[in-house]
Amino acid sequence: MNIQLSRNLFLLCLSILIISFSGCKKNKDDKKDKKSSEEVVKVDTIDKKLVKDVKAVKEMFYSMPSPLEVAMILKQAGKDYNPEILNPTKHTSKYVTNKSMALNLGVYTTDLSYSSLYDQTQTTIDYINAAKDMAEGLGMLHAIDEKTIDRLEANVNNRDVILDIISETIMNSSSFFKENDRQAVSTIVLIGGWVEGLYIATQLVGDTPTQNEIDDSELIARIADQKLALNTIIKLMEKNEDDKNIQSVMTQVKNLQKIYDKIEITSSKVVPVTDEETNVTTLKSETTISMTPEIYKQLKKKIEVIRKNFTS
């Protein structure tokens, strides 16, 4: 037994040495690369420099609107709370595949965030439980645990604490998948949450807004703004385009993009103005959104179809 233990200890030390040396080699190589690239810069043309600058970016992040942010946008638009449009929590038992659990973890997290911002205590508790079921199904046993739910129940009247708990659960899930090289699942969760936000928004607007309503409604403007987020969402999906679940979601998102392409958004130059007292900067710019009632109708219908695919 002792011999076995010593052998394992020896192997442990050996492994650490291998890792350390490979790290050292990489750093030395990095330094060498750094030095040689510095020499190259001196003779580079401007174009080559630009290529090098782009290559020098080690990490590229594409950040989608999180369920919490989506819910805040919905609340800001000033519409009344409507629980009828949310995905019923009793549907959790229907979701048994990784794809459906990931999509509906996002859907339920948006419903959870939306309910909490309108101080809907019991609904908030119901939706965190639904999200917990989906998270556990995906192998995340600690993203939302009993302690989280107890803490939420103990703070039902403290919205700041509730929002903090929701933020933490979103981060636990997103970091869990990234740590475990399941980036595709993390992206699918976010897309589920984003589509649910779009679905709630379009349901709150109603079926047939007039051109004046389209031009004046803050909520419709935010729905149209998702055209800007779509490019980022597609880039994020392309990072995992070999994943078959991503491929099927991507087809649906690209169909949605075809309708978004019909919406015209023009924006003036952005001018930052900082308030010296509060130290908050306002990015001043004017935006014009051109969308006809017909395009809105197509958009709403497509969102309904995608959401039905995700939740049924």
Binding site: N27, F61, S174, K178, V280, T282
Partner: protein
């Protein structure tokens, strides 16, 4: 049989090390960086990586009209200051923390929704060290409700 268990043991060790680095980064973002966002609430998205001095990262994100945001760039203590800029889609600079003594946070509100680029670079250390310094860098986005009077 013993050989097999030894091979498994080595593999566990080899795979556990990178995971520990990632976990430490998550722990750092959760325990240290998140606090710096207060009174803004973290949007929940986890965007962090291990960077070495001189290395850079970029994040693309749409920020929505009339929402209150705080961008906080959070680096491990061991790292030199982090230089970050906020760019519009044409890469015009809207904010540069170099003009603000490398302040790690920036609060803003957009009049209309904007796709922005957060571009950051870990400065090269002024100390003459044998090996370049590496550490965790997290891009944290905070949001704050507009309280209606």
């Amino acid at each position: 049989m013993k050989k097999l268990s030894n091979i498994i043991f080595i593999f566990i060790i080899l795979f556990a090390f990178p995971l520990t680095g990632k976990s430490q980064c998550k722990h750092f973002a959760q325990q240290v960086c998140k606090k710096e966002l207060s009174p803004y609430i973290h949007d929940g998205n986890y965007n962090a990586a291990i960077l070495t001095e001189g290395e850079s990262a970029e994040m693309y994100k749409t920020f929505y009209a009339n929402q209150n945001y705080r961008i906080h760039i959070c680096g491990s203590d061991a790292l030199p200051p982090i230089h970050f800029q906020i760019l519009d889609v044409d890469r015009n600079v809207l904010y540069d923390n170099k003009k603000n003594k490398y302040d790690s946070s920036w609060d803003f509100k957009a009049q209309s929704s904007q796709q922005l680029i957060i571009s950051l670079k870990v400065k090269n250390s002024e100390k003459d060290t044998e090996e370049p310094v590496s550490g965790c860098v997290a891009i944290m986005i905070g949001i704050k409700e507009n309280k209606k009077e």
